[in-house]
Symmetry: C2
């Protein structure tokens, strides 16, 4: 693992690191914010999964999350959204290929060789973080934005016992029924839709439910609302009597101006679970 940069931030350190990944068979870059408290011992971890077109950098520089993570003594991990590099398959569309890993393990050509983001986020990166940094991996929570909200929700439901709480900003909630979903799931996982089930938060909620606190915010003026379907997740969660806070925030859109407005509340929500 190589240190790309480290900057002092809110009394802690915002680092960027690069490492060779077995899961994605290429170099991967991630951001990690360590609060001041990490100097004294392991701190809890909040994962932030980013959306389409993002790298490890977007949320790190635009979400304004470090201030609140510092206040709560929580580390933040900002993984990249896909494998990258010259030897890695890509597509001219912004919503497929590099920058659009959708947090799945691809099984179809040409994606299967590198696009194993589920394994990367679920197994490889946590193991690396545990080894290299003062993180308390018994206390993890997860959030994300858009495609990353989809990732946060499906990982939280798919990895029972891993996370203490899950939240999402403008998540893709029901991709098996929408434009941001059917195309990519078919490309990565093939035409057999049974393989898609574990990558649709609404279907997962119906099938598995959730046993950790859930918070979802979406802007009422989100320009991509028809791709997101927060109403489908709301219906599924409430039908299963899952404790939840589900909100449409008046007038907000899909941008980081939305995320940065509510990130304080999300980090506070996770802190409550991480320090319970």
């Amino acid at each position: 693992m190589e240190t790309v940069s480290e900057n002092r931030s809110f009394g802690g350190t915002q680092g960027v690191y690069r490492h060779r990944s077995k899961a994605t068979n290429c170099d991967m870059t991630f951001g990690l914010f360590l609060p001041q408290e990490a100097a004294e011992g392991p701190v809890p971890v909040l994962w932030y999964l980013s959306g389409l077109t993002c790298t490890h950098e977007n949320a790190m520089v635009k979400a304004g999350a470090q201030q609140w993570a510092a206040e709560q003594g929580i580390a933040l991990v900002f993984p990249d959204t896909s494998p990258r590099g010259e030897g890695v398959a890509d597509d001219p569309a912004y919503d497929l290929g590099q920058g659009a890993g959708f947090y799945v393990n691809a099984t179809e050509a040409p994606w299967a060789a590198h696009f194993r983001m589920w394994d990367y986020i679920a197994d490889e990166l946590p193991a690396l973080l545990a080894k290299e940094f003062p993180l308390d991996m018994e206390r993890q929570s997860i959030t994300g934005h858009s495609m990353g909200g989809h990732g946060a929700l499906t990982l939280a439901m798919g990895l029972k016992g891993r996370f203490r709480s899950v939240s999402a900003f403008s998540p893709i909630c029901h991709p098996t029924t929408t434009d941001w979903g059917r195309k990519q799931l078919a490309a990565y996982l093939g035409p057999d839709e049974t393989a898609w089930l574990r990558h649709d938060a609404t279907l997962m909620m119906r099938a598995e439910g959730l046993d950790i606190p859930l918070l979802v915010d979406t802007g009422s003026k989100d320009q991509f609302m028809s791709h997101l379907k927060p109403e489908a997740l709301a219906m599924a969660a409430m039908e299963r009597r899952i404790p939840c806070t589900l909100r449409l925030q008046d007038g907000y859109d899909h941008s980081y101006f939305f995320v940065s407005t509510f990130i304080e509340e999300h980090i506070g929500f996770h802190a409550e679970a991480l320090y319970a």
Copy 2:
């Protein structure tokens, strides 16, 4: 109008008053909390509509609302849930007749003679309050519990421009499809279901939407959940992109222990709209 009682409460006054109602053609009793600020001039008003079996008294003594209304300088109105008295029709069931007015104007025998709770809450009682008390009727909001949550939601959607915000605890959200609803709507309004539409919050939401802030809390262990259907209202509100906060609160049931836990937040939510 006759004063039944007045007690000092949190620096203000909790009163109970009785008056002859034209709408319901019988004597009606209501509670009114006036905060200290009412001595100096008109204060904003929050309506609290109660649930099945309740009188004006239940929320007044069990919701713990006065503390927070006093802090915000807001008056609270606690109407009764139905007409009452010897000459008023009743039913042996707890969910029909006296204590179960459902906030409709009954058109069917034997109910039509007295059960005109919509008119009472929408027209007659506000006019009386405006005449008798220092209330700023330009600043009204509404909340309620269970059948009263149903009333709050349907009145807020039915009386456009009247209220600045609406919230509900464990509301009956879709009565045209459930046990707490079909029986009563048929009894009060007759078999023509087109007359029921304006008394179903989910159908109103689909048809009319809502242009004021909306907050709904339901306990995840509510023993009457199958009568409430918060998931149907959630789906309808989010499908219409209505700004909203919809929550299932972990482990809470249908009781006033639930209401009193979250009434502070609801009153704070309304205060934000009333003082905007």
